[in-house]
């Protein structure tokens, strides 16, 4: 299974036969029903906050128990606020730059990185990279990684008994165009199991890494495919408790982007959060 070592909390790495230390509480493996209840509780709490007048929460809380790896890895102190309007010299208002040396033309076509062609459904994923004012983010780096069509990553630690594909690595990168546009050609990734709880499966997804015009806008996220029956069961997608926000992680099938007798087209626009140095942009 994928994520064997890292996704397995200590109490479930123990084989059933291994004796438990005297003091250790014996914990049964969590079931999907347990996780479903936790997900529902988190959502109800959020909806109650919304009804009470709270602002919509666009990002997942870092403390989200149904995704069990979050339990020991989230800060308990609130973040310290920095108002960048009062601090135009803040390092975080600028961003690393990437250029033509950092990306080759083949990097955006994940189906052409080996001798042969990968197995699976050939797709394109296209869209625009924007800031919260709807302005395009130009010439910036987008990186992407994914499992192959069988749901297996080309990663040593992924031991899901699904075949590796010698013609697919699953890594791509591209620089956005002047209108913030990007496009990748790849194959549709498969769903895969993980060890968050018993019978846990991730819906098919592509991981994305994005830079903006300011380091404050840095984003790593995952894109999903429309209509996946696994959405409701997945604590990672459900960690985004706001329904409209969750929907923004799902690409749209766009028939106009499908190429006859070649590939199916998906559209996914990405909007970066966080303050940007608007005065720099206007001076360009």
């Amino acid at each position: 299974m994928p994520e064997v070592t890292p996704e397995t909390p200590p109490e479930t790495t123990r084989s059933p036969a291994a004796p438990l230390p005297e003091q250790a509480p014996v914990q049964r493996e969590l079931t999907q029903a347990d996780i479903d209840r936790q997900i529902a509780r988190e959502r109800q709490a959020y909806e109650k906050d919304l009804a009470g007048g709270a602002e919509p929460r666009h990002h997942p809380p870092r403390d989200y128990a149904p995704y069990r790896s979050s339990i020991l890895r989230h800060p308990t102190q609130p973040p310290v606020a920095i108002d960048t309007r009062l601090d135009p010299e803040a390092v975080e208002l600028s961003s690393p730059a990437f250029g033509r040396t950092d990306v080759t033309e083949l990097d955006s076509d994940l189906t052409r990185q080996h001798q042969g062609e990968p197995l699976g459904e050939r797709i394109t994923v296209s869209g625009r990279l924007l800031d919260r004012d709807g302005r395009p983010v130009r010439g910036q780096l987008i990186e992407l990684w994914q499992a192959n069509a069988s749901g297996r990553y080309a990663h040593q630690r992924d031991q899901h008994p699904a075949p590796l594909d010698p013609n697919f690595t699953g890594v791509g990168r591209v620089l956005t165009g002047d209108d913030g546009s990007y496009s990748f050609t790849t194959v549709k990734p498969g769903a895969y199991p993980w060890r968050n709880h018993a019978n846990a499966w991730r819906p098919a997804h592509i991981h994305f890494s994005l830079f903006g015009t300011a380091f404050t806008q840095r984003l790593v996220t995952q894109m999903y495919f429309p209509g996946d029956p696994l959405f409701a069961y997945d604590p990672i997608l459900q960690s985004v408790t706001d329904e409209a926000a969750r929907a923004r992680l799902v690409a749209a099938y766009d028939h106009d982007l499908s190429r006859p007798e070649w590939s199916l087209g998906y559209r996914w626009d990405i909007v970066l959060d966080g303050p940007a140095a608007t005065w720099i942009e206007e001076g360009r």
């Binding site: 990002h59 890895r73 800060p75 135009p88 690393p96 630690r157 991981h207 840095r218 790593v220 966080g274």
Partner: protein
Amino acid sequence: MSPQTPPTPPTPSHTIGPFYGYALPFPGGPDAAPHAHPDTITVHGRVLDGAGAPVPDALLEFWGPDAEGQLPQQGGSLRRDPVTGGFLGRNGVDFTGFVRVATDADGHWAIRTLRPGARGGHAPHLSVCVFARGLTHHLFTRVYVPNGDPASAAADPLLAALPPERRTTLIATPGPHATHRFDLRLQGPDETVFLEFS
């Protein structure tokens, strides 16, 4: 864009997961300092979770100015080799200001970059972005690199606003050979100060 236009809702964050290792780290990623540059420093430390255990699958990014306090707008961090489809490494001359490093099995990381210069009223520091499996949304922090001028640290707007016991979580500890130790604690009594920008 008129100021009346409501901001577009952002794309939510997600965890980086456990399998970014063959996609995001790149040769030369931790080594941003140009070859033999006299202002080169090493910054290193560990990433620890709320139980004090090492986090072996965190990815850290650093962004900061050169020794004069200038922020580069220079590509070339992850130069690609069009012949092999692999990486060429940095060119050893240009400073891009961007560092990416993954933690090892002990949760340890080490980077070589230029000693950051002071900017505005700030004490010298690098911006840090932390990603990890289990972290649903990245964390921002800063590593302040002492320059031997206590007045500069005292005047820094962020450091000055923090209680002393929390302030120290942002300040690297100088060691021999221009090394600086900086541990990141994601949770617990000595939790690192994390930042939110607006």
